[in-house]
């Protein structure tokens, strides 16, 4: 919706700007044109100049060459009327021009026309000099404005511009509303596309074509997603199938190895070797169930059993279970739970989270055969519960540290160390964050942050 308002305001402001520019442009062109026309009419033979060309000499009016030229080029005829209203002198006088003039005639022609001839009038000492244009060659208009009106013009211009802007706004809004309706439909469509939902927009309206395109895009995306899902499912099912099929032959390897191991008739050395076969077979079993779990988590095929649980109880139980399974003097585990974490109750799959925690502890133990101290702490950080697993051992190898920093994608299944990958997947499935680092003083630190719902 926010972006639609943005589009709307942009649209309106640009429309107003267009209107404003048009008004200014028109105004400017008009002024320029008027100025140009005026310049043309003024430069060539102004009335006073032509009037000066007539002089009285030797008891006779003389008209200079320039005056004749002006009559030729611009005007048609000229005359001089005495203050009494009689023609004193005339040049190219048309037939229909009267011989005498009353005061009212003069007043009329000085503003308008003389017998339909547009005329210019110039006052001389000896009378009135009149320059005549050909008929129908000039439009004369006399303007008359009250002075305060002209003063008010200074205020009226901005108000006019403002009114224009408002008019432009209203007009564009009215014309644009249909466009915005279509735009809003498109916008909701695009949002749905973003969330990977199927869309079916109405294809009528101004932007019908665009809506149709979006509908087609949605169909393509849906088809692609379905194909991807199918492929993921096939991959996960395949891994599940393979791990299932490995179990029966592995049973036999383990079974017979166990039998050999317990067969007292065999020499000790042989029985030891059988024990190694059995132990390694068990490792393969663990690996394939890890692989299976990782692939299921990856393709979201692992059903989560979400229930309220106490994370601190979970921590104590996981650690206790690990210690009870085989107390190890070389890997002492200490637990420190901040009192503010005790009352926390989160929602999640307790079994998977316990698995994640156990994986972290086992990882520390497995990669520090020389022994190391492991410390687990938990604390309530207002928005989330923070669990840290720290040891003072070798730290993560660089390659492992690099691989756990990569984003979780289907390719992460390639990374070595399924244990840590499963930790990341389980934490991600609970909308949590997990970070891995090596400590300067040696050892590693894993921080798991689980958000409160």
């Amino acid at each position: 919706m926010k972006s639609l308002i943005k589009i709307l305001s942009r649209y309106l402001s640009s429309a107003v700007l267009v209107a404003l520019i048009l008004v200014i442009l028109n105004f400017a062109i008009m002024i320029l044109w008027m100025f140009e026309t005026r310049k043309n009419t003024i430069v060539d033979y102004p009335t006073e100049q032509v009037a000066d060309q007539l002089y009285f000499e030797n008891g006779q009016y003389q008209f200079s060459e320039l005056g004749r030229e002006a009559l030729q080029e611009k005007y048609q005829w000229a005359m001089l009327i005495s203050n009494e209203g009689n023609i004193l002198w005339g040049q190219n006088l048309p037939e229909d021009v009267p011989q005498t003039y009353t005061l009212s005639d003069v007043a009329s022609m000085s503003r308008w026309y003389l017998e339909d001839y547009p005329v210019n009038v110039w006052r001389r000492d000896d009378g009135l000099f009149i320059l005549g244009y050909p008929k129908d060659s000039l439009w004369k208009m006399h303007t008359e404005l009250p002075l305060d009106g002209i003063n008010r013009l200074i205020y009226l211009i901005p108000i006019g511009i403002l009114l224009n802007i408002i008019a432009a706004l209203i007009l564009t809004f009215i014309f644009g509303s249909r466009l915005f309706k279509s735009l809003r439909i498109l916008l909701t469509g695009v949002k749905k596309l973003e969330q990977n939902q199927a869309i079916d927009l109405p294809t009528n309206g101004i932007l019908g074509d665009l809506a149709e395109n979006l509908n087609r895009t949605s169909a393509t995306l849906q088809a692609q997603q379905e194909a991807l899902q199918k492929r993921d499912q096939a991959r996960s099912t395949w891994i599940a199938g393979v791990s299932h099929d490995i179990r029966t032959p592995l049973s036999m390897v383990m079974g017979y190895a166990s039998q050999l191991e317990e067969n007292m008739q065999l020499p000790e050395e042989q029985r030891q070797r059988a024990a190694v076969i059995r132990q390694q077979s068990w490792k393969i079993k663990t690996l394939i169930s890890d692989l299976n779990l990782a692939s299921k988590l990856e393709y979201s095929m692992q059903a989560l059993h979400i229930e309220p649980y106490s994370p601190t109880v979970l921590i104590r139980e996981s650690v206790t279970e690990l210690i009870n399974r085989g107390a190890n003097k070389q890997h002492p585990i200490t637990v420190q739970i901040h009192p503010n974490a005790e009352p926390c109750v989160l929602e999640g799959d307790e079994k998977l989270l316990a698995r994640a925690l156990t994986n972290l502890l086992e990882n520390s133990i497995r990669h520090n055969p020389q022994g190391c101290a492991i410390h687990i702490a938990a604390e309530n950080n207002d928005t989330h519960l923070s669990i840290t697993v720290q040891d003072n051992g070798n730290g993560f190898p660089d390659a492992v540290l690099a691989s756990v920093k990569l984003p979780l994608t289907p390719e992460s299944l390639d990374t070595h160390g399924l244990g840590l990958l499963i930790v990341r997947q389980i934490v991600a499935a609970h909308q949590g964050q997990v970070s891995f680092e090596n400590l300067k003083e040696g050892g590693s630190l894993v921080r798991v942050e689980l958000p409160f719902a």
């Binding site: 099929d245 179990r247 049973s251 079974g255 109880v313 104590r316 206790t320």
Partner: protein, 243 residues
């Protein structure tokens, strides 16, 4: 149900389509002393053997060529209470729960340790066919250092002095004895004694543990048997059985 003098005389029906695996399981069972083992590679054969041989227990695979074990156990349960132990390569929680929910006595996933199979088999057979003797119902009597503890009477004897445990002390001690040598979390102890979280009972638990120590430890401030595991819980060690 008939009673048996000896578990190894049980007739065992093994149903699995993997011939090699059947051979091995047979080997394992024979090695432990079982004599009467029948194998079926298909449900059809299993049906027939169930009728003719009347076995005491059935070890059943889930995926078989002519049907699945889950359906088969439902079919069998309509006319027989024969104990069934699933031995399957399906290791999902859902499968295990389904199998147990359908009335199986146990569910073991492949690959398995032969010893585990034998132990689970023995437990089912004993539970089903050997009547429980009253002797086994007795609660343990044992020594912690020089003190004799009798969980039947809930008492501790030190020389001539006999003390009684309170109800809560007894519950805590029993829980620790059950898991002796292992850590029991404070959460589990509170759950056992008060049915509630450690969060609300931490101090109460500490008080009860101290009183318990006063009764069973020679030096309560320096316990040798009821040890604190910091941050986790408690552990009972050094329990000696009475000969």
């Amino acid at each position: 149900m008939k009673k048996m003098k000896e578990i190894h005389k049980s007739k065992i029906l093994l149903v699995d389509d993997e011939i090699e695996l059947c051979h091995m399981v047979k080997d394992i069972l024979r090695g432990d002393g079982y004599q009467r083992i029948f194998t079926a590679y298909r449900l059809e054969q299993a049906r027939q053997l169930l009728r003719t041989e009347n076995p005491h227990i059935m070890i059943l695979d889930v995926m078989l060529p002519d049907g699945d074990g889950f359906q088969f156990i439902q079919e069998v349960r309509q006319h027989s209470q024969i104990p069934v132990l699933f031995l399957s390569a399906k290791d999902e929680d859902e499968d295990r729960l389904l199998g147990l929910g359908l009335g199986a006595d146990d569910y073991l996933t492949k690959p398995f340790l032969p010893r585990e199979l034998l132990l689970r088999l023995q437990i089912i057979l004993r539970r089903t066919y050997l009547p429980i003797t009253p002797k086994e119902q007795k609660k343990p009597v044992f020594f912690l250092g020089d003190r004799e503890i009798d969980l039947n009477s809930g008492t501790v004897k030190s020389g001539d002095d006999t003390q009684q445990f309170t109800a809560k002390e007894f519950v805590l001690l029993e829980k620790l004895v059950e898991n002796q040598g292992n850590i029991v979390t404070g959460d589990a102890l509170c759950q056992a004694a008060w049915g509630d979280h450690l969060y609300s009972y931490e101090n109460t638990l500490m008080v009860h543990i101290r009183r318990l120590r006063e009764k069973i430890e020679a030096e309560p401030s320096n316990p040798q048997h009821l040890l604190t595991v910091r941050g986790l819980g408690y552990k009972l060690v050094g329990k000696k059985e009475i000969q």
